[in-house]
């Protein structure tokens, strides 16, 4: 692999094709010759892992639909039918349900990596915002999918989440009735959720294309957080990034498979194996683990409308991250104070996740309120102040210098 060649069609057919639809050239320039920074670490393999998870969810999902019935009287039994009667049905369903969790684990690592290395900063703001949109779509898709087995947690999760919209002044009730297609969560709700759950992954795939497009326009960030200056700073995507991504993917699949085969219900709730009952709410209702930090924020605020606003704001604020953190230095490697605050922020998110799973009473509520305040303070107070007053460490002259010289301690 010397230098970065451009695509040269070898045979007559490919030459004919290239003159009409240059798709082979596009693939070549995007995934073969594409220059990637030579210092990428394994945190950069999660983009590939996420693409794999999206494909895996779409494939297992399409197959599950061949056996699933979206009707309030049959949905629960059809899921049990998949588990007991359908050939390999248990495997397909466990892959799909655990796959959702794996998708979120990967996306959280991917997002925190972006925050640590400042991947949202100019010129990657649009790339970052597209990522936030994908994350929002993932949350919606995960919620809609969790409703489909029509167990107790499905039913009551759907009730609680759709009731967020009843907090809207004046038109709240009208909006909720419209969402439900009835006066409570029922069969019309299930059927439309099924339709949308099938639709959204393809919308995600579309936005992923934009995300990758934007990535290939501005180039990848890297652990040093400085732009590549020439061939010495980059390596071709294939074989270097391809093989590294593949290795990361295989390791991630081992982790995924461990859950599928040994702990398939660990990340779910036993209550969802009870058929939906509109007369009884489960005693302890919690969302799936990946929503817990936001659930804690919702419950921290003792006012319905403000709680719902805080929940949406906690995600929406990510859109503004590129402008809240205006430090010119991207990577936390060269931002000693930011690095500490980053890890505190990670701990706060995990803490909120823990509190979201606890009952809303006593000390848990107070702790949620403190952490919710800190969550917003991180974005609105700490980052703007750090960008102004932090004394950053000197940046290396180039990526190759940062790799070849004695690596900076961190």
């Amino acid at each position: 692999m010397s230098g970065h060649s451009t695509y040269q069609p070898q045979n007559a057919f490919m030459k004919w094709m290239e003159a009409r639809l240059p798709i082979a050239g596009l693939v070549h320039s995007s995934f073969i010759a594409y220059p990637t920074p030579r210092n990428l670490n394994y945190w950069w393999t999660f983009g590939g892992i996420l693409s794999f998870m999206l494909a895996a969810q779409i494939i297992t999902g399409i197959v599950l639909v061949m056996h699933y019935t979206p009707h309030e009287t049959m949905a629960f039994n059809s899921v049990e039918h998949i588990m007991r009667d359908v050939n390999f049905g248990w495997l397909l369903r466990y892959l799909h349900s655990n796959g959702a969790s794996m998708f979120f684990i990967a996306v959280y690592i991917h997002m925190f990596r972006g925050m640590y290395y400042g991947s949202y900063k100019a010129p990657r703001e649009v790339l970052w915002i597209l990522g936030v949109i994908i994350y929002l779509l993932m949350m919606a898709t995960g919620f809609l999918g969790y409703t489909l087995p029509w167990g107790q947690m499905s039913f009551w999760g759907a009730t609680v989440i759709t009731n967020f919209f009843s907090a809207i002044p004046v038109v709240g009730e009208t909006v909720v009735t419209w969402l439900w297609g009835g006066y409570s969560v029922g069969n019309p709700t299930l059927q439309r959720f099924f339709s949308l759950h099938y639709l959204l992954p393809f919308v995600i795939a579309g936005v992923v294309v934009l995300h990758v497009w934007a990535l290939h326009v501005v180039g990848q960030n890297n652990p040093a957080g400085i732009e590549p200056k020439g061939d010495r700073d980059t390596v071709p995507f294939t074989p270097y990034a391809t093989v590294k991504d593949a290795f990361g993917m295989v390791c991630f699949m081992l982790f995924f498979a461990y859950f599928v085969f040994y702990l398939p219900n660990y990340l779910g709730h036993a209550d969802n194996y009870i058929p939906a009952n509109p007369a009884v709410t489960p005693a302890h209702i919690v969302p799936e683990w990946y929503y817990l930090p936001f659930y804690a924020i919702l419950r921290a605020i003792p006012n319905k409308l403000l709680g719902v606003i805080a929940l949406f704001a906690s995600i929406g604020i990510l859109v503004f991250l590129p402008w809240l953190d205006s430090s010119k230095v991207r990577s936390a490697r060269y931002r000693p104070l930011f690095r500490q605050f980053f890890w505190i922020f990670v701990a706060v998110c995990l803490g909120l996740g823990y509190l979201g799973a606890k009952p809303a009473e006593g000390g848990y509520v107070i702790a949620s309120q403190i952490l919710t305040f800190y969550y917003f303070a991180h974005f609105l107070i700490i980052l703007p102040l750090l960008s102004r007053f932090e004394k950053t460490r000197p940046l290396p002259n180039s990526i190759s210098e940062s790799v070849l010289k004695a690596p900076a301690k961190h």
């Binding site: 009551w156 009730t159 609680v160 759709t162 009731n163 967020f164 009843s166 009735t177 419209w178 969402l179 439900w180 297609g181 009835g182 006066y183 409570s184 969560v185 029922g186 019309p188 439309r192 509109p278 007369a279 009884v280 709410t281 489960p282 005693a283 302890h284 209702i285 419950r299 605020i301 003792p302 006012n303 319905k304 409308l305 709680g307 009952p359 809303a360 009473e361």
Partner: protein
């Protein structure tokens, strides 16, 4: 589009562009409306939401029954004289959503408290005869209601809603 220096002032053609675009926009809105409106409750759902009649004769004093109307649980609480007195004697100023007990029952039927058993916070079903006031307690996010269904503490913004209902006789009601 055709904005060269010579045609800076609005021309007949500009008018035609705007008029054509406006007609297209109105047409698109009219076309979108059925696609949006189809999500509202359909005729069968509305028909199934017709009023229901409930015979209260078998409901003993101190007992709470749950009936369904429009997929919503309706609690009918046959309150004891002690519970009625407690509900009536509350200092209204201390309530987050002040409402006298008399406004939450039908005149002359204070013994029967009829309300929609859906927490006004996020739609869970509160447990009857539970919580500090022995009224209703929502297990989801900890809202506490008294025997009149009034919010006393927790995140719920308002009192439990009352369904439209009337007494046909002293022991028979029609909800809806």
């Amino acid at each position: 589009m055709a904005s060269t220096a010579a045609s800076a002032a609005p021309t007949r053609r500009d008018f035609l562009y705007v008029a054509t675009g406006s007609v297209a926009a109105v047409g698109a809105a009219f076309t979108a409306w059925p696609l949006i409106y189809q999500m509202n409750p359909d005729a069968s759902t509305i028909a199934a939401g017709a009023p229901v009649e409930v015979d209260l004769t078998p409901v003993a004093e101190g007992q709470v029954i749950k009936v369904f109307w429009r997929g919503k649980p309706i609690y009918v609480n046959h309150r004891t004289p002690k519970e009625i007195k407690e509900a009536e004697d509350v200092n209204l100023a201390s309530l987050p959503d002040p409402q006298p007990d008399s406004a939450r029952v039908k005149k002359g039927h204070a013994n029967f408290q009829v309300l929609i058993g859906i927490c006004t916070h996020l739609g869970c079903i509160p447990i009857a005869h539970a919580g500090p006031y022995n009224g209703y307690f929502c297990p989801c996010h900890g809202s506490v209601y008294d025997t009149s269904g009034r919010i006393r503490s927790g995140p719920a913004p308002s009192n439990l809603a009352l369904p439209p209902y009337e007494f046909l006789t002293d022991t028979r009601i029609r909800i809806g």
